[in-house]
Symmetry: C2
Subunit: 216 residues, 2 copies
């Protein structure tokens, strides 16, 4: 090829761009569990060589977003029930902590924004849009947790979401739910009331209910 008309984007290294795009796809559940990817395929999709694709994939494997077969092939993970339970337990551990830390900093403007996002969540539920639902749901949680000023803990929580992404989409698509997000309303009520125990419980319940859908 050797065209290279693209000198550099300072923050936009090619591998970074590929990484972000794949990460978003995986976290939003746009890839089904067990989907297999190839370095050359990724490279062609993003118009780069294998090298940046390899680095992006390596990063995602390190985060648990992709699985590496013994021969080096990569695919989205197919989670066992035990692993799903573990990841749900991690959400139940991390997210109440983030909520508690965010609570004293949650002023009215934040709650308004959360309610707007929550409205979007309801729309996605009504529209039966699994990927849209996941995206809005994550935005709801992330918007709240960003106020916790705890980037290391938030990064851990996002890693868990990432690992759950493909499986969550498959689960949500399988059982077409019509319920609006009840727990989100509880979260908002507890935020308004400044009720920390209630907030922790609501967040914990919301995080764990994804696990209930596993019982089949």
């Amino acid at each position: 090829m050797m065209i290279s008309p693209r000198p550099v984007d300072l923050t936009g290294a090619a591998h970074e761009r590929v990484y972000r795009a794949l990460r978003t796809q995986i976290m939003h559940g746009e890839l089904p569990p067990g989907e297999s990817l190839t370095l050359r395929g990724i490279g062609k999709q993003f118009e780069v060589s294998m090298t940046p694709a390899r680095e992006a994939v390596r990063r995602l494997v390190a985060e648990g977003a992709l699985t590496l077969s013994s021969s080096g092939r990569v695919s989205t993970p197919e989670l066992s029930n035990d692993r799903i339970e573990e990841l749900a337990a991690l959400r139940a551990l991390l997210e109440p902590e983030l909520a508690t830390r965010a609570l004293p900093r949650a002023h009215l403007a934040l709650i308004d924004r959360l309610e707007a996002i929550n409205h979007g969540v309801s729309q996605m539920v009504a529209r039966q849009d699994a990927t849209g639902y996941i995206r809005m749901n994550l935005e709801f949680h992330r918007t709240l947790y960003l106020r916790a000023q705890a980037p290391a803990i938030l990064a851990m929580a996002e890693t868990v979401w990432l690992q759950l992404g493909p499986t969550m989409a498959a689960l949500y698509a399988r059982l077409n739910r019509t319920e609006p997000p009840h727990n989100h309303k509880l979260i908002l009520a507890a935020l308004k009331a400044g009720d920390d125990p209630g907030l922790r419980l609501a967040v914990r319940t919301d995080a764990i209910q994804g696990l209930r859908m596993l019982r089949n």
Copy 2:
């Protein structure tokens, strides 16, 4: 070069070997905070080209074991006080959970092994060997947590240890402690007694005490 007399190790890809070696060095605190690494330097050290070195580094950056400057340079992280507090909070969240899960599976042989490891910890304290102390301390915790049968949670805990590695070594080296690990004895006592609340408290205290040494 083009020698390549080394066909393949099935599990021993070069980048894997480099990754494991660097990871161990970082987790054991053999690299001081702020140490800068170069891809060519790593490659020369392990007798590989830049490619496997790059992949290993990319993985470690994704795990938070190394930091990436804006120009792509990598170095061991220099943690802020806030970040150390966050990581200590993560240990305080994750490790009691792992201990609780390990408790019903902790039979006598395991406790014996933990006591042997703990003896090794005391030796390292007496010897003022910071790296050796960290290594033994981690082995103590990992040996216990392996019984929890919770690989995802354990992986998260190890990621936290990894991020704390260089800083821990610097802290331990700075204040030469002579105390034997009191909290480890409490952990062992709670294990023997089957005392879950006591075990959780002892583990939590042990995890957090690394934070106390930050107050300077």
